[in-house]
Amino acid sequence: MLESVLVANRGEIARRVIASARRLGIRSVAVYSEADADLPFAREADEAVLIGPAPPAASYLNGAAVLAAARTTGATSVHPGYGFLAENADFAASVIDAGLTWIGPAPASIELMGDKISARNLMEKAGVPVAPGTREPVADVAAALAAASAVGYPVMIKASAGGGGIGMSAAADPAQLEAGFDTARSRAERFFGSPAILLERYVERARHVEVQILGLADGRVLALGERDCSVQRRHQKVAEETPSPGVSPELRARMLAAAVLAGQVVDYRGAGTVEFLVDVAAGSFMFLEMNTRLQVEHPVTELVTGIDLVEQQFLIAAGAEVSFDPAAVAPSGHALELRIYAEDSKRFLPSPGTITEWTEPAGLGVRVDSGYTAGNTVTPFYDPLLAKLCVHGADRAQALERARAAVAGFTVSGVKTNLGFHRELLADPAFCSGDYDTGLVGRLRS
């Protein structure tokens, strides 16, 4: 097993990785920015190293500073969490070149999936269904208009190097495409360092369903069930659940097989997620993208399978066998994750500030992965995720009931949170019925 791990991340995910490391006897090293010195993850690690000022480019995105911290502390491996450097193939390669163990897939796998256009083309060639779309970057408005008329409206404008829903916008007709294209390009350049844009047919009534895969050290690829991530605001996830209420056993079998194929095509090792769009009307699915790292919403999979995915990441990175029997994975019950963001419940605008009160719910089937506690300051430098409130029940009805009680038992003061939104969501007839799609939050707010 690994002797030690440097966690190149912050907040709840750093804390969660550190917790598994501690349980497994792996020495943990946190790195933190000047803004995060007081956060639980920096205090709970066996060692913590200040790597720079608050802006991400000067700290959590500064690969050289992260590697220097690994050298100073003698850390033997690096876990990137999600976001920041997690899908940076050059950083992964520099970790390996430094003689450390990279807890993630090979840099080549990251690279193949990192560019959305090349990933789409690769999947299409392998026989995984993709949405109608462009096979090369769209350079300007004229090219976009020509491509869109071939793809068919409405289209989604996406950054090829992008992710996390940032900079995405839909265009219903040529006028909207013309209006949105340059903004999309400048955002792509600014957020992802590449102005490459792709267009994809936009599916009106769609569910966003993803499959958790695990590439084992011996090369086998397993699918550990799906997660429904259709509750989104600004194309970003707010709540997730497994199993998906909108996926039949037959569709699930096909999606899991496609996800395994995607993993095999890129020779995947470790935890990864293959994202699909499910066309509710047609009952079909299309490859969206693959996230070559641990996913924010991985706890719902852990709750129904009983598998600690971070532990499996450690084992696979060390070249060892996983701790469960791959032939006997049997998900049980239903799990939900509610993302608790520092933002207001109506307009979803960010709310930095100092947390004066923080009380987490507890109880049967309740798991809270939090990054903050009372006295901590939520700064404007990072994403608004404060905590993930997860519940597990014998079935969906029980999970919903436990979620309602858990939301009622969660108290945060000092910053605004979206707990009010979650109360509303858990009372919404469409959400409760399970028959909802990615337009749900928009309809709740219209």
């Binding site: 940032i166 600004r234 520092a342 933002e343 605008l349 960010p350 709310s351 930095p352 500030g353 700064t379 404007p380 430098f381 990072y382 994403d383 608004p384």
Partner: protein, 70 residues
């Protein structure tokens, strides 16, 4: 006269309007960025932009003056 103030701590990402511009109700004046989110700051009145109190790259605190429309 109407004063436009910041609703939260944020960085000024883009300044869209300039002093002297004729502004309509609902026009975007500046775009702030906080927590990886872009937040357009809109005019809540029409008139002339007589003062623009921020520049790109500035950090604004909640309640800070962004612009004055007369």
């Amino acid at each position: 006269m109407s004063e436009v103030r910041a609703e939260m701590v944020a960085n000024v990402w883009k300044v869209v309007a300039a002093e002297g511009d004729a502004i309509g109700d609902g026009d975007t004046l500046v775009i702030l960025e906080s927590m990886k989110m872009e937040i357009p700051v809109l005019a809540e009145d029409s008139g002339t932009l007589t003062q623009l109190a921020v520049a790109e790259g500035d950090v604004v605190q909640e309640g800070d003056l962004i612009a004055v429309i007369e």
